[in-house]
Assembly symmetry: none
Homo-oligomer: 201 residues x 2
Amino acid sequence: MATDAIPAPVSDQNLSRKIGRSSRMKCPAPFLSKTYDLLEEQEEESNINKIVSWNGEGSGFVVWCPAEFSEVMLPKYFKHNNFSSFIRQLNTYGFKKIASKRWEFQHEKFQKGCRHLLSEITRKKYEPSAFPTYLNPSAKNIILGSTKEEINTSRQLLMEENQNLKREKMELQMQIAHFKALEVKLLQCLTQCMESPHNKN
Amino acid sequence: MATDAIPAPVSDQNLSRKIGRSSRMKCPAPFLSKTYDLLEEQEEESNINKIVSWNGEGSGFVVWCPAEFSEVMLPKYFKHNNFSSFIRQLNTYGFKKIASKRWEFQHEKFQKGCRHLLSEITRKKYEPSAFPTYLNPSAKNIILGSTKEEINTSRQLLMEENQNLKREKMELQMQIAHFKALEVKLLQCLTQCMESPHNKN
DNA sequence: GGGAATATTCCC
DNA sequence: GGGAATATTCCC
């Protein structure tokens, strides 16, 4: 039946929101728990059959067979069967691909036997107005350690942000113009109202 | 089999991105197409069996049986079986619930027989700062004829302008907050003024 | 690898 | 109903 494949709601999602992940977070992101679960599940398979497993040191994991992994395992834990979407999430949470010829990923806080570390892993934040980390404005030394191209990239990003800010400023100014006009009208109304209440009655 | 329930990729998703939905858009959002499809599919059912259908005038639609709709129809078109998520999407696209005792929804541009209108429906915008990532081509030349130091100077100037723009933006936002508060007060005054034919004449 | 749009979930 | 976080998709 079709609905079978829709994963049951994950219980730990509820709690995590209320607490907020900022300082003392209890619940790992669902993506991390599920990925960890999925590795635990595979631990029970014999080595020969493993689609995915922890690496030798337990410091990362390897997807041995991406095709099977995507078709069989992903839908059991996620709402899709696309390897690329899984990779996208890994990147979002700061995992690194640490081998060139196989799909091995690692994250400092994602280790075999250390489920409790998961809650220390955070999403990379998407901050619309902030600088990318490598463009930290306080980093005045940028010019020393960077190539012309890198500085120029930084410059272009600033230019882009600049355009956005100007547009936003314009929009805000339009809003203000609107409010000013409104204020004038309201004051007119009020004045009329105060000046001539007598006549009608 | 589990993977059966994962909807096949929808072909019209590809095109819509490239074009951009701003002014002359060709492709409706997947959510809209799918919802329309789902209604078309039900058109073939006899009236007695309908889980969902267009309303009498074709100006909206009614989910007659939310339970069955969620369990049976949603998973065929979406990656979930939650009625509330469907509702959330309807709200995102500006649909209105137009009956109190049944699940009837309406949107000006969502009408029976008018699939072409779908592409005029837009998401309500959540827009912190949106500007398509363009790379300024004319500015690319700067890198050829300039030294690292010169580019960096340009960069620093932009950074400065940027800071200023942010400050200005903040100030404008404060002005707007001020106007909003003022508007509330004026409206209160006006209301009082109108309600109480003061001056006791 | 990551930006950004859309989808889904959760919460108020 | 909608804000906001997370998930999924698409594209560069």
